[in-house]
Symmetry: C2
Subunit: 222 residues, 2 copies
Amino acid sequence: MTKAICLLSGGLDSSTVIYYAKDQGYEVYALSFDYGQRHKRELDAAKNIASSVGAKEHKILKVDLTQIGGSALTDQNIEVPLDREMEEMTSEIPVTYVPMRNTIFLAFAAAYAEIIGADTIFAGMNFIDYSGYPDCRPEYIKAMQKAIQLGSKAQNINIKTPIIHMDKREIIQLGSKLNVPYEKTWSCYKGGKKACGQCDSCLLRLNGFEMAGLIDPIEYEK
Amino acid sequence: MTKAICLLSGGLDSSTVIYYAKDQGYEVYALSFDYGQRHKRELDAAKNIASSVGAKEHKILKVDLTQIGGSALTDQNIEVPLDREMEEMTSEIPVTYVPMRNTIFLAFAAAYAEIIGADTIFAGMNFIDYSGYPDCRPEYIKAMQKAIQLGSKAQNINIKTPIIHMDKREIIQLGSKLNVPYEKTWSCYKGGKKACGQCDSCLLRLNGFEMAGLIDPIEYEK
């Protein structure tokens, strides 16, 4: 069986992607990061998803991005914006953008791939909902794949981003077909008992379920 | 003054490069990594060099690569090879190669550059002495620069590798002109009181000083 590293945050997108990779016949190795995010809820979600999907291994790397800061997700002094309009969310680079996060994560994923002999990295970047994030663009992924191929001993590592051109509705429809247990995922930028329902991530998720004509199985504050 | 991030390990190559960047008129921000290397001697050397060159700031990031392993530098179970012939050292990827190290370091450098508004990263990769390392090749640097430009908010970050085509003799000659205090640098893979004089890094350094007709100011065991 061909091995694949799957970047897994525990959110809706990456959880869908790891189920997709499994469905494609890969032996999946989940990779998550304890990077100093605002809460550990998403890491718990990642553990549950890795276990549900039957990952061969789930590696959680400590890579402290608060040493760099510059984002609402890694600097407690920057507020997570709430109740924004859809257009506002997607038209510019938001304060939740973490400098070079995907580049750092993909570099670690490539190192992990090299060690275990995997030739594929699956990643849940999405260009539609996160059009403001430079490191979610297809041309960035292509360039990063080339850098990884040239910079690694393995030379043959490919990055697959199956949902990069899908909107949230399509992602949820795909995940539903694959029986992704969305009740185990966590998307909210805040780490409350229930999802806040107000941050960009909650709003995009709720909108996606609504557009798909499905019920989001997790609970919301409001 | 234009700001530049300078990757600084505390070794001969990166110390020469930070002096070069300073000489070119940049305001230099030194960046080192406490990545779980076999010893802290090189970090002490980096601190001394950053101070000597008058770096505006010296950031030491903790990024634990022993979580990945796969190298003699990050896994104590893999021995550092000693007393190898020059040809043996440079003809294949050695066990001291650390998977994706330069990709990880350059990604962090780009994040740091974005935060402080620097548009240049100086790095001491060298393709002559380290021809076995895939992530020291000019084509890798070019690809990584493109990935960083596309993946960052800044879009304009350039990677400069002024010594990539120089052999150790030429690097030492350049550094001597720039008055690099080589007595403060540390190249040895081991962390003894004196440099071992037997690992690849010591042998390349000693050979370089000899070829340059100069005396290496540090002390060696043998």
